[in-house]
């Protein structure tokens, strides 16, 4: 039995190296074995390589968030691991077909924006994207911090900010203004850490679940308020409306509800 199987192979090996059959078969065998080796390595190692790339992306975003003044300390205190999620603002769930890498491409398509009606458009934006990239800081399985990017309209133009909310989804952990064009010395003071320091600890909702947060005119009088800035009424109202809009039903409201239900 073994002899009949072994024979053709032996006969092949015994062929002179210069014979055409042997040349062709050798070329084919070497190519096949090498192809097997290369595809094997690629298939086996692909998951690890993908994980590497994901870790790289993660590190880049972490550096981005840490680079925002005010956020670095906050992250330092909270510890845990930062992850990035693109969410669908409509239903507050993680977007199925949009990743952080493809977000910009998706937002270039006007089909992915929703026009806002005058009554709901607190922040004066006119339209809002359907997808937003948010950052979650986890400790174990629990979310300890949520970073929500938001955009509003101040006196001088657009204000971009990141609001950090603690895991209870009710306490503000901090705010960072990433971009604004308010009057220096007046509205521009929203950049100052002295003003921003009023945010941590401020409550968003009352016991009935009503959104109560606002920026006071003058000094804060309730747990839901932060101090206003004298001489910058429109800027502070802009911030107030921005936070109220983005935490409302047209903004991150569905997301916050989903996190409270424990869906993240």
């Amino acid at each position: 039995m073994a002899e009949t199987e072994g024979n053709p192979w032996r006969r092949f090996l015994a062929l002179p190296n210069e014979s055409r059959t042997k040349t062709l078969v050798m070329a084919f065998l070497v190519a096949a074995v090498c192809a097997l080796m290369v595809s094997g390595a690629t298939v086996l190692l692909r998951p690890i390589q993908a994980a590497n790339r994901a870790a790289e992306e993660q590190a880049r975003i972490e550096a981005l968030v840490r680079g925002i003044p005010g956020m670095a300390d906050l992250l330092q205190q909270s510890g845990g691991t930062l992850s990035t999620v693109v969410i669908d603002l409509e239903d507050g769930r993680a977007a199925q077909d949009v990743t952080p890498a493809t977000l910009n491409a998706a937002l270039a398509d006007t089909g992915n924006w929703t026009a806002l009606e005058a009554g709901t458009d607190l922040a004066g934006l006119g339209q809002r994207p359907d997808y937003a990239q948010i950052f979650l800081l986890r400790q174990g399985d629990d979310i300890s911090l949520v970073l929500l990017p938001m955009t509003g309209k101040g006196y001088g133009g657009r204000i971009d900010a990141i609001l950090a909310i603690e895991g209870d989804m009710n306490t503000i952990a901090g705010i960072a203004i990433t971009n604004h064009s308010e009057t220096p010395g007046l509205g521009g003071r929203i950049e100052d850490s002295s003003w921003q320091s009023a945010f941590p600890g401020t409550q968003l909702y009352d016991d009935g679940g009503e959104l109560r947060f606002n920026v006071a005119r003058g000094e804060a009088s309730t747990d839901y308020q932060v101090d206003g800035i004298t001489g910058a009424t429109r800027t502070t109202r802009g911030i107030s409306n921005m936070v109220r809009f983005w935490l409302g039903p047209e903004g991150y409201g569905p997301l916050i509800a989903a996190i409270q239900r424990g869906e993240f």
Partner: protein, 221 residues
Amino acid sequence: MAARFDLWTTLTEPLIRQNPVTLQILGICSALAVTTSLATALTMSISLTVVLTLAAVLISLIRRHIPDTIRLIVQIVIVASLVIVIDQVLQAYFAEISRALSIYVSLITTNCLVLGRTEAYARHHAPGPAAVDAFGNGLGYSLILLIIGGVRELFGRGQLFGWQVMPLADQGGWFTPLSLMLLAPSAFFLLGGLVWAIRALLPEQAEAPEHEPPTEVRAAE
């Protein structure tokens, strides 16, 4: 006893006496390109040594059955496949270094050193000696790469393996880095200097001059 002695010489000859880089001037493209730091030089050295040894063993195993007409392409296919595997492994486990080495790992395929050893040695010897010879040549290559990489990183950045050996002047130390060391020409200088030093110590390595210098200088006037 004699066989073991032979293996030992096969292993150690390529370190200095038959060094593939300094004597045969093989594989200097990568030796110049990846020696800006010790870490990349070390990774490159290990990759090349592994590829070279594995290729030598594989080719030596099938040496009696490689048709002469296609022997070069068979060798290159084997070497190239091994290089792809190594490259994939590096990308998976040493992502950062793999990025620093960029295409030079893939270029091991075309490194004359690998084909030179498989063609000149592994094709005529049993797997054991072929592996030893390939490993020795890999070590010889590594030695040169590490020397050049070490000198370049030390004088170019004041570091060794990324660890600050000499405090930099702009950080309050005394050492001003020679940025020339991080540029390609410095590798030429260093490699040239190394070749000169080795040939000065081992004069039998010096090649016979191709041209005799004119003896009668005045004849030109």
